[in-house]
Symmetry: C2
């Protein structure tokens, strides 16, 4: 199925960050013509080192999704558009809800309006998040669950997902949306923990600094290795049965948060876990146990996560051990 | 319970339109100090005639919700804030999604940020809509149902509702949200049908023009008389059990769309119904049958709709028959 990418023009909107770079590598290998758009917003994940090994095989435009004229130009003739650009910090969205609105809502409207008017047949894959579900009433959580967003970020990202289906319903844009669980792996920024605390733990371990866990750390999480998730995203961009659908992308299994941290410590062979009380106000962001129901993705696209947490973490630790000067 | 409004400072944000004016009258009667903010956006519902009979008993500021400095000033010392301002046209939101975003999302963030910093103890009542539910999987529709928004307007209004609960969760703002079904009654603008087709039908009947119904008009709708809905909103602003809650506001019963139109024709004693095919693209906006489950509102606040559809329509027709030069 993924051989369909050979010769295809593929645009990665927000393509130099964690997930975009994880997609770019297999796309180059599959023979796609890869175009990357990224705005290099400070603190976000864009990093030239992420594509250092494929730099001459991809086309990069440093511009913002919200630059509507640039975007119009760059989306034309593309076959598949991966819509990955986002403000992804829950806490930043609370500090500056207006910027979160501008990136995560207005940016997506600009993209969809551009697709509608200048390339209405391109497949659009919206790369979203488990965050909309918030604190689920039951686990594992299927796609049809009610949403319980717990921060501004989650509200805006859900709105952006829904935009795609409005443009599908009214204008026929061929869209697919994914909701990714807790993702980890190479190519993530590690300057600060605001986007992805899991990857940041790897940095702490490699620096031999203690990993702080709030409370007992017993809450279950569904961890998915980025290269596995990338395969689901790639399937979503070409599989005919993915059209108009939304899919959870996760391992489908729950691991206690503390076990994750302890496994990082064990595999890194250094650092230690420290259990501390919840800081004031922080617990209102916690969603309790979270496990995804990934049945739909498995049945429709034949995908399931392949990489065990130990294997994924070992690869992640090895990557950052070698490349850390580029990431922090 | 509503006697609690005596002497209370009450701000109606977007208070000169249909719902705001319907609230202003009982508030004045209950002895509240009523302050109204409205931006008089063209085509929206603001109308000086709506408060003609209570003009000397309310304080009006012509300004926009998005004018953050004006808003900061006007919300201070208020006890209850009814957040009614909105872009309410489904079709306008598709033609100009960016303006809908600015009013329906950014405007609400400005209001909530102002409350958080300058009046965090005021009760805030968000006046929302059934539109988020879209095409429900089952009727009657309870509050916990998944959302199926079918236009940009519905996405943004749902986001705005969720903002209120984020500010409740993280900053303790005392909020309540209402989702109102198909509302009709005096004080609505009737220059065009884009905000409220039901009220526009009354105009057509009074002008002895035919009322066009797309398809067979058999879809069920839950019609609520504005004065009834206003009572639910008022309860939501002072009832302790309403804090942090969301309530459906509707009749709880379904009436075929065609019956509504035929009843208007009958009560007006003129005009006629015309059945025509769905115009191209219009049917993708239709949500099928819709009836609200209003159990929560009844059990928690003791409210239920009192006015029959015939009685409500008769009062509505009588109002516009007398006042129509102010409305079209």
């Amino acid at each position: 199925m993924l051989q369909a990418y050979h010769g295809k023009k593929v645009l990665l909107v927000g393509g130099l960050g964690f997930i975009g770079s994880t997609l770019a590598h297999p796309l180059v290998e599959l023979g796609a013509q890869v175009r990357i758009l990224d705005n290099f917003q400070p603190d976000h994940g864009a990093n030239w080192h992420n594509i250092g090994d494929i730099r001459d095989k991809v086309e990069v435009h440093v511009t913002d999704l919200r630059d509507q004229y640039a975007l119009r130009q760059l989306i034309q003739d593309q076959d598949v558009i991966f819509n990955i650009a986002a403000q992804t910090s829950h806490s930043d969205s609370m500090v500056n809800p207006f910027e979160d609105l501008d990136i995560n809502c207005r940016g997506n409207l600009i993209l969809l309006e551009a697709c509608r008017h200048f390339n209405p047949t391109a497949r659009v894959v919206f790369v979203g998040t488990r965050a909309y579900y918030g604190s689920p009433e039951q686990t594992p959580v299927p796609e049809a669950s009610p949403m319980h967003p717990r921060d501004i970020y989650s509200i805006h990202r859900y709105a952006a997902e829904r935009y795609h289906f409005i443009y599908h319903l009214h204008y026929g844009l061929p869209v697919t949306a994914l909701r990714i669980s807790n993702i980890y792996g190479p190519y993530a920024q590690m300057a600060h923990p605001r986007y992805n605390v899991l990857n940041f733990f790897v940095r702490l371990a490699l620096e031999d600094r203690p990993i702080q866990i709030y409370g007992e750390g017993n809450q279950l999480r569904d961890y998915v290795y980025a290269a596995d998730a990338a395969e689901a995203l790639l399937l979503a961009g070409v599989h005919p049965d993915a059209l108009g659908q939304v899919f959870n992308v996760g391992s489908g299994a729950g691991l206690p948060f503390r076990t994750l941290a302890e496994t990082i410590v064990e595999l890194a062979g250094q650092s230690r876990c420290e259990f501390v009380p919840w800081p004031e106000g922080a617990q209102s962001y916690d969603v309790g146990d979270f496990i995804m129901d990934t049945t739909a993705l498995h049945q429709t696209l034949g995908w399931q996560a392949q990489t065990s947490i130990r294997e994924g973490l070992a690869q992640t630790i090895a990557f950052y051990r070698q490349h850390h000067p580029h990431y922090w």
